[in-house]
C-alpha cells in the first residue's frame, strides 16, 4: 500500500504516465502473442523486457520523480513488468510445448521393423524334456542321480538280475567295448555302452543308505539303425524308490502324479503285466491319451492321430524292484522294498510335441531345435 500523496509535485515525467505504461505493457503482450516461434519470442523478449526496452527505461525514470510520486509510479511500472514477464513465461511454455509435441511427431519410427540382429539360440528339446520330467520328481523330494555311459556289464546286466544266459540279455542289442588283447585275454572287456539308465539304480543303491528316492536321466545305446522311429543313441529317464513298506499302489500313484504334472489334472495311467528281469512284479505302463482322453476308441468319427485311436499311449516299463537286485546292491530285501520305472524321452517328445521323425532329433538342424526355446 502506497503512502497518501500529501505534497503533490507538479514535475511530471511523460514516460511514467499511467496511460503510457499501459501502452508499453500492451505492446509487449501483443508482441509476445504474435511471436510464432521460440526465436521470434526471444526477439520480442529482448525488445520488451531487455535493458533498453521501454518499460526498463521507464523504470529508470522513477528516480527522477519527487519522493512522494515515486511509490505510485514504481507500483505502476512494477505491475506492468510483472504482467509482461508472466505473459512471456506463458508464451514461452506454450511454444516449448508446441515444439516438444512436434519433435515427438517427427521422431516417430516404424515399430514393425524386424530385429534379428543376433538370432535366438535354443536348447535341445531332449535336454529340456529330461529336465522337465526330472523337475516333477525333484519337487516331490527325489534327487537326480547320474552315471557313466560306458558301463561295466555287471552294472548294466548282472546286478539287475540279467544272468549270463538270461534270454532277456539277448533282447538288448548291446554295443560291446573292446578289451585288452594279450596272452591272457581274448579281448573281452566286460564293458558295454549302457543299454538303459537302470545301472544308475544299482550305483545309487550301492552309494546310499535307504531310503533312496532318485531319478536318473541319461543317454543310452542300442545297436539299432537310425530311422524314423529308432535311433542307436537315445535318452531315458529312470526312477527308483527304495524304502520300508513301498507297494505297487505307491508305484501307480507316482506314475499318475507324473502324467498329471506333465499332461493335465485329468490324466491317469494303466498298468499291464509284463516281464523285466530287474522288477517283480513287472508292468508295462500306458498313459491315457492326453489328446482324445480315450474318446476316439470305437469312434470312427473322431479318429485320434496321437494314440492311433487306441485311447492309451505306451510309456515304458515299471515294477517292484526285484529283491535279487536289492540283495546284489546291498539292500536288505527283508526290510526294504522298492519300485522303479523308466521310459524313453524321444518317444515322449514325439507324442507330446508332434515330432514325426526321430532323425530330426539327432541331426542337429537348427530349424528343428530353435522353436523349442529354453524350456518345454
Amino acid at each position: 500500500m502506497s503512502a497518501p500523496n500529501k505534497s503533490y509535485d507538479p514535475v511530471e515525467v511523460e514516460a511514467l504516465k499511467p496511460e503510457e505504461i499501459e501502452r508499453m505493457r500492451d505492446e509487449a503482450l501483443a508482441a509476445f502473442a504474435a511471436a510464432d516461434s521460440l526465436d521470434a519470442l526471444q526477439e520480442a523478449k529482448v525488445a520488451h523486457t531487455g535493458g533498453t526496452s521501454p518499460l526498463a527505461l521507464a523504470n529508470r525514470e522513477i528516480g527522477a520523480l519527487p519522493p512522494h510520486a515515486k511509490a505510485d509510479a514504481g507500483k505502476r511500472v512494477g505491475q506492468a513488468r510483472g504482467a509482461v514477464n508472466k505473459a512471456l513465461g506463458a508464451r514461452q511454455a506454450e511454444l516449448e510445448a508446441e515444439r516438444d509435441a512436434r519433435v515427438l511427431v517427427e521422431e516417430a519410427v516404424d515399430v514393425t521393423l524386424p530385429y534379428d540382429r543376433v538370432p535366438a539360440g535354443a536348447r535341445h528339446p531332449l535336454t529340456t524334456m529330461m529336465e522337465r520330467v526330472a523337475d516333477v520328481f525333484v519337487s516331490m523330494g527325489y534327487e537326480v542321480a547320474e552315471g557313466p555311459e560306458v558301463e561295466a556289464e555287471w552294472f548294466n546286466f548282472d546286478a539287475l538280475n540279467f544272468g549270463p544266459d538270461h534270454p532277456a540279455r539277448q533282447m538288448q542289442d548291446t554295443f560291446f567295448v573292446q578289451g585288452p588283447k594279450g596272452a591272457d585275454s581274448d579281448g573281452e572287456s566286460g564293458v558295454v555302452l549302457r543299454t538303459h539308465t537302470s545301472p544308475v539304480q544299482a550305483r545309487t543303491m550301492l552309494d546310499r543308505e535307504p531310503p533312496v528316492y532318485v531319478v536318473c536321466p541319461g543317454r543310452v545305446f542300442r545297436t539299432d539303425e537310425l530311422d524314423a522311429t529308432h535311433t542307436p543313441v537315445f535318452h531315458q529317464i529312470e526312477l527308483l524308490a527304495v524304502d520300508e513298506g513301498l507297494t505297487m499302489a505307491d508305484l501307480k500313484g507316482t506314475l499318475d502324479h507324473m502324467v498329471q504334472s506333465l499332461f493335465g489334472a485329468d490324466m491317469k495311467t494303466r498298468l499291464r503285466p509284463n516281464y523285466f528281469p530287474f522288477t517283480e512284479p513287472s508292468a508295462e505302463m500306458d498313459m491315457l491319451c492326453y489328446v482324445c482322453k480315450g474318446e476316439s476308441v470305437g469312434n470312427p468319427d473322431r479318429p485320434c492321430r496321437t494314440c492311433s485311436s487306441e485311447g492309451w499311449i505306451e510309456l515304458g516299463g515299471c515294477g517292484m524292484v526285484n529283491p535279487r537286485v536289492l540283495t546284489a546292491c546291498g539292500v536288505d530285501p527283508e526290510k526294504y522294498s522298492g519300485f522303479a520305472f523308466g521310459f524313453g524321452i524321444e518317444r515322449m517328445l514325439m507324442f507330446r510335441h508332434n515330432v514325426e521323425d526321430m532323425r530330426d532329433m539327432v541331426e542337429g538342424d537348427v530349424r528343428f531345435t530353435r522353436p523349442f526355446g529354453m524350456e518345454i
Binding site: 539360440g121 552294472f155 554295443f175 505307491d250 503285466p273 512284479p281 542337429g364
Partner: protein
C-alpha cells in the same frame, strides 16, 4: 505265438459271442501281450465250392501255358452244367478235386470275381490257389488239389476253415508255457473263470524195457528222454486239411505228415518233438556233449563245427542232432516225394533239455528254432510222455501206423520247486488287502499246490519254471486280481536336497549359451580315427587314444569320441548344406578316454553286496568320461539389417563362449596365446584355470585352421571352442561374495600405451591392474590402434581406468599417481610407452 481262436475254443468253452478283440482284452489284462488280432476271411464272400475237373484244353499261342477247363461244381452254379474256367496253373489233372470260386464272390483283399473274357475264352470263375484264399504258404505254389473224398459242390469256406481269428501273442521270456495252445488256454480259462480241458491229460503206458534203446550220458543236460516207435506208416498218407489249416494259421508250413504231426503237438502242448526215420538210425540213441572238432550237417543243410559244450543226440555213427535245437540231415524223415521212398517207421523223441545249454548252442550257431525258443524259456518236463503219446496217437490215426508196445523213458527229474511265503505277502507287495483265501485260490488256479495258514507252502507247477521267488507268486496273484484294480497312493519321500551345484551349473550353461544365440545339438559319440588326421592332431596326441567298439554300427566309425568337435562340425556342415549359413551351435557331452592300462571288468557276485574293492575294480576298467562343452560358429554372428552392418562370427566369439562358461561356473579363466591341432596357429587361445593352486590347460578356442576347414568341407573362417567342463567346475571359486559398494565419487583416467604387436593385451592389462593398486575399481580396454603414427610393428592400447576409495573422495593427484604407477609397471613388464609421451 499265433493262436487261432477256433483252436483255442477246443480247450475252453469261451462264450460263442466272444470276438477275438474280447479275448485279446482279457488276455492283455492277464499279462499276455496280444499284439494283434488277425481276422482271416473277414471280407471273404462265396460262392466258393469243391469242384471236379472234367476236361482240360491246352491253349497255345500265349506267353505262358493256359488251360481252358470245364469243372463240375454240382448245383452250386444254379444250373448243374459244367463251369467253364480259364486257368494259368498246371498242377492238376482231369478228375482232380479243386476249389472253385464262382462269379459274384469276393476273395480276400476285396478281389471281386465276375465272368469275363480272357485268352479268347469266357471264364466263369477261378480255380483257387491257397495264396488267393489267404491261407498262407502250403509249399505247393499252385492251386489246391483236394483229397478225392470231398463231395462236389461242398462249401469250401467251411471245409478249408477260411474264416477265423488269430491272436498274435508276443510271449515274454518268463512265460515259456504260453508258447503252446495249452498254456494260452490255461490263461484264457482263468481269465474267464471257466474250466480247462488240459490236452496233456492223456493215458500213457508205463515205460518198459523193450522200447528203442536210449543212453543219456549227460543227465545234467537232459533230465528226461522219452522214445516211442510207430511202424507201418502209409507212404502216401498226407496231413488232413484241418491239421494243415491249424499249422498255417499258427504260422507254420505243412511239410509231411510225420513232421506236421510233431509240429502240431508242439504247438498244442509246448513240447518240441523230433521224429527220426528208424531205418536211418544205427544203434542206440545217445545224449552227450560234442567232441572237439566234431561236425554235423543240420536239417537246414549247413555243416556245423560243434563246440564241446554243445549237447548232441547221437547214434552209433555219431551226431544225429543238436539237442533241442535242430535235427541232423542224416536221419531226416522222408516224405512221399523222396527218392528213397517215404519213411514208414519213425522213432519219436520227446525230451527235456537244459535251457541254458540249449540257449548257448542256439546262440553259438545262430540257429534259433521253434524248439530252441521253447527250451530256452522252459518246457514242462512232465508233458514229455503225453506229447509222445499224442504224436503216436495222431500217426496211428492219420497214417494208419501201429504203435509199438515198447516205451522208453529215461528220467532224472528235478524235485518239484517249493516256495514258502507269508499268506499276506502279495498284499504287502501290492498295497491291497486281498486276504488269504484269494491268494490261495489264485495260486491254485495257475496250478500250484498250496498248504498252510499264515505261512503258505507253495509247490509250483512243472510248466512254470519261472516261479522261483516269493515276488513271482505275488505277481501271479496281483495280475489275476487285475493290475487295473490297484489303488493309486503316493509315498512320502524324505525332504530332498534338490539339484546339486553341478546339475544346476549344467542347466545354467545351457541357458547361457542359448541366451547368447547358440543352438544345442546332440551328436552321436561315434567317430572314425581318420578324423584326427583331418583335425591336424599330432601323431602322439593323447586324443588319438580311443575306446573301440567290438560291434560298431559302421566300420567307418568304430570308436568313441575323445573330442566333441567331429560331431559338432558335422552338424555345422549339415546345417550349412541345408541352407542355414549363419550358425552358432553348442554341445555338452561326455568324451571317453581309455585308462592307461586296459583292464577287464570282472563279473562280480550278485548274491551279496560287492566289496568296495570289487566295485573299485570295475571303475578301474571303465574309461575316464569327463564332460566337455564345445561351440562352433560360422557365417554372421550379427546380421546386417536396417540398423546397419552385420558382423561375421570370428575367433573372439569362440573365446567369449569360453568366458561365458567360466562366468557361469564362477571360475577365473586364463586366456593366452596358444597353438593346437585344429586351430589357426595365430588365432588360437589356450584356456586354463587354476585348480588347487595348480594351473591346468582345459581347452582351446579360436578360428579353425584353414587346412582343417578344407579337409572337413566347412565354411571359411569357422571358429570353435572346446573345454573340459568338469575341470572348469573344479576351478569354481564357490559362492560369490557380496562386494562392498563405495558411495564416494569415481575418478577416471585414460591411458594409451604403445607396445610391440607381439605383446599380449592380457599381459599389459595385468600389469596395469597390479600397478594401479587397490584404488583401481575397474579397467577396460576401449581401443586398439595400429598405423603410421604408432610405428611399424607397434600397437596402441587405450585403457579407461576408474579409481575409487572406500572412505574419501580421491583427489586428482591421488588418481594420477595411481595411474602413473600402473603405467610404470606396464612399461617395466611389457615395454609399454605412454602414447604421446
Amino acid at each position: 505265438m499265433r493262436v487261432p481262436l477256433s483252436w483255442l475254443r477246443e480247450y475252453v468253452d469261451l462264450p460263442a459271442t466272444e470276438t477275438g478283440r474280447d479275448v485279446q482284452a482279457k488276455l492283455i489284462s492277464a499279462g499276455l501281450e496280444v499284439e494283434t488280432v488277425e481276422h482271416l476271411g473277414a471280407d471273404l464272400k462265396g460262392p466258393l465250392v469243391v469242384g471236379q475237373v472234367l476236361t482240360i484244353e491246352e491253349l497255345d499261342g500265349f506267353k505262358k501255358p493256359i488251360r481252358f477247363c470245364t469243372v463240375d461244381v454240382g448245383q452250386a452254379n444254379g444250373t448243374g452244367e459244367p463251369q467253364e474256367i480259364v486257368c494259368g496253373a498246371r498242377n492238376f489233372a482231369v478228375g482232380d478235386k479243386v476249389v472253385v470260386v464262382l462269379p459274384g464272390a469276393v476273395l480276400p483283399g476285396g478281389f471281386a470275381i465276375s465272368a469275363r473274357k480272357t485268352y479268347g475264352r469266357n471264364s466263369h470263375g477261378m480255380i483257387c490257389s491257397s495264396d488267393e484264399l489267404g491261407m498262407g504258404d502250403d509249399g505247393t505254389k499252385g492251386i489246391i488239389v483236394l483229397p478225392p473224398e470231398h463231395e462236389v459242390g461242398t462249401d469250401a469256406v467251411e471245409l478249408l476253415e477260411l474264416v477265423d481269428e488269430v491272436l498274435d501273442i508276443a510271449v515274454t521270456p518268463d512265460r515259456g508255457y504260453c508258447l503252446s495252445l495249452r498254456g494260452v488256454a490255461r490263461e484264457a480259462a482263468i481269465a474267464y473263470g471257466l474250466p480247462l480241458r488240459d490236452p496233456a491229460l492223456l493215458d500213457v503206458p508205463a515205460p518198459n524195457a523193450f522200447g528203442y534203446p536210449v543212453k543219456v550220458s549227460e543227465p545234467a543236460g537232459c533230465d528226461r528222454f522219452t522214445a516211442r516207435t510207430v511202424t507201418g506208416l502209409a507212404p502216401e498218407a498226407r496231413s488232413p486239411i484241418w491239421l494243415r489249416r491249424r499249422l498255417q494259421k499258427a504260422g507254420m508250413r505243412p511239410i509231411s505228415l510225420a513232421v506236421d504231426v510233431t509240429n502240431y503237438v508242439m504247438l498244442e502242448l509246448g513240447q518240441p518233438l523230433h521224429a527220426y526215420d528208424r531205418s536211418r538210425i544205427q544203434g542206440a540213441i545217445g545224449v552227450r556233449r560234442a567232441e572237439p572238432g566234431e561236425k554235423l550237417t543240420t536239417l537246414d543243410g549247413v555243416v556245423r563245427t560243434l563246440d564241446p559244450e554243445d549237447l548232441l543226440i547221437t547214434d552209433d555213427r555219431g551226431a544225429i542232432g543238436l539237442a533241442g535245437v535242430m535235427g541232423g540231415a542224416n536221419t531226416e524223415i522222408a516224405d512221399h516225394g523222396h527218392a528213397a521212398g517215404a519213411s514208414t517207421e519213425v522213432v519219436i523223441e520227446a525230451a527235456h533239455f537244459d535251457p541254458i545249454s540249449v540257449a548257448r548252442t542256439a546262440r553259438r550257431h545262430r540257429l534259433a528254432s521253434e524248439a530252441s525258443k521253447r527250451f530256452e524259456r522252459g518246457v514242462d518236463p512232465l508233458a514229455a510222455s503225453a506229447a509222445a503219446q499224442r504224436t503216436v496217437d495222431l500217426l496211428v490215426l492219420l497214417a494208419g501206423g501201429t504203435a509199438e508196445a515198447g516205451v522208453t523213458e529215461v528220467i532224472a527229474p528235478p524235485a518239484p520247486h517249493t516256495i514258502t511265503i507269508p499268506a499276506n505277502h502279495p498284499d504287502k507287495v501290492a498295497g491291497v488287502d486281498y486276504g488269504r483265501e484269494t491268494v490261495v485260490r489264485r495260486l491254485q488256479e495257475i496250478g500250484c499246490d498250496v498248504y498252510g495258514q499264515d505261512e503258505l507252502i507253495v509247490t509250483v507247477p512243472s510248466w512254470r519254471p519261472d516261479l522261483t521267488d516269493p515276488n513271482d507268486l505275488a505277481e501271479e496273484v496281483i495280475r489275476l486280481e487285475g493290475y487295473e484294480n490297484l489303488p493309486s497312493t503316493l509315498p512320502k519321500p524324505p525332504a530332498g536336497l534338490g539339484l546339486t551345484d553341478r546339475q544346476r551349473l549344467h542347466r545354467r550353461i545351457g541357458r547361457a549359451l542359448a541366451g547368447a544365440g547358440y543352438v544345442e545339438a546332440l551328436n552321436y559319440p561315434f567317430i572314425g580315427e581318420d578324423v584326427f588326421d583331418q583335425l591336424g592332431l599330432a601323431a602322439d596326441d593323447p586324443k588319438r587314444r580311443v575306446v573301440k567298439l567290438v560291434n560298431p554300427l559302421s566300420d567307418e566309425e568304430p570308436a568313441l569320441r575323445t573330442t566333441l568337435l567331429p560331431g559338432l562340425l558335422a552338424a555345422l556342415r549339415r546345417n550349412d548344406g541345408r541352407g542355414s549359413h549363419d550358425l552358432a551351435l553348442f554341445e555338452t557331452g561326455l568324451v571317453f578316454q581309455p585308462q592307461d592300462e586296459l583292464r577287464v571288468a570282472g563279473r562280480l557276485p550278485v548274491d551279496r553286496r560287492p566289496t568296495d574293492e570289487e566295485i573299485a575294480s570295475l571303475t578301474a576298467a571303465l574309461p575316464v568320461q569327463p564332460l566337455h562343452a564345445a561351440v562352433v560358429l560360422a557365417g554372421a554372428r550379427e546380421q546386417a539389417g536396417w540398423w546397419g552392418k552385420g558382423r561375421p562370427a570370428d575367433w573372439a566369439d569362440a573365446i567369449e563362449a569360453a568366458r561365458t562358461l567360466a562366468r557361469e561356473a564362477g571360475a577365473e579363466l586364463l586366456v593366452r596365446q596358444g597353438q593346437y591341432g585344429p586351430w589357426h596357429p595365430g588365432r588360437c587361445a589356450e584356456l586354463a584355470v587354476v585348480i588347487d593352486g595348480a594351473e591346468q590347460v582345459i581347452g582351446y578356442a579360436g578360428e579353425l585352421h584353414p587346412g582343417v576347414l578344407k579337409a572337413l568341407h566347412l565354411p571359411a573362417r569357422s571358429s570353435a571352442m572346446e573345454l573340459d567342463l568338469d575341470a572348469l567346475e573344479r576351478a569354481s571359486a564357490g559362492v560369490p561374495k557380496g562386494p562392498h559398494i563405495s558411495s564416494f565419487p569415481v575418478a577416471t583416467q585414460d591411458v594409451a600405451l604403445v607396445v610391440d604387436q607381439s605383446v599380449p593385451a592380457a599381459g599389459v592389462e595385468a600389469a596395469l591392474r597390479e600397478g594401479a593398486g587397490e584404488l583401481l575399481e575397474s579397467i577396460r580396454l576401449f581401443d586398439v590402434f595400429t598405423g603410421e603414427q604408432i610405428g611399424e610393428g607397434k600397437k596402441s592400447l587405450a585403457y579407461a581406468l576408474r579409481f575409487r576409495a572406500d572412505d574419501r573422495t580421491l583427489t586428482v593427484d591421488e588418481a594420477s599417481a595411481a595411474r602413473d604407477t600402473a603405467v610404470a609397471l606396464a612399461a617395466e613388464r611389457t615395454g609399454a610407452v605412454l602414447r604421446g609421451a
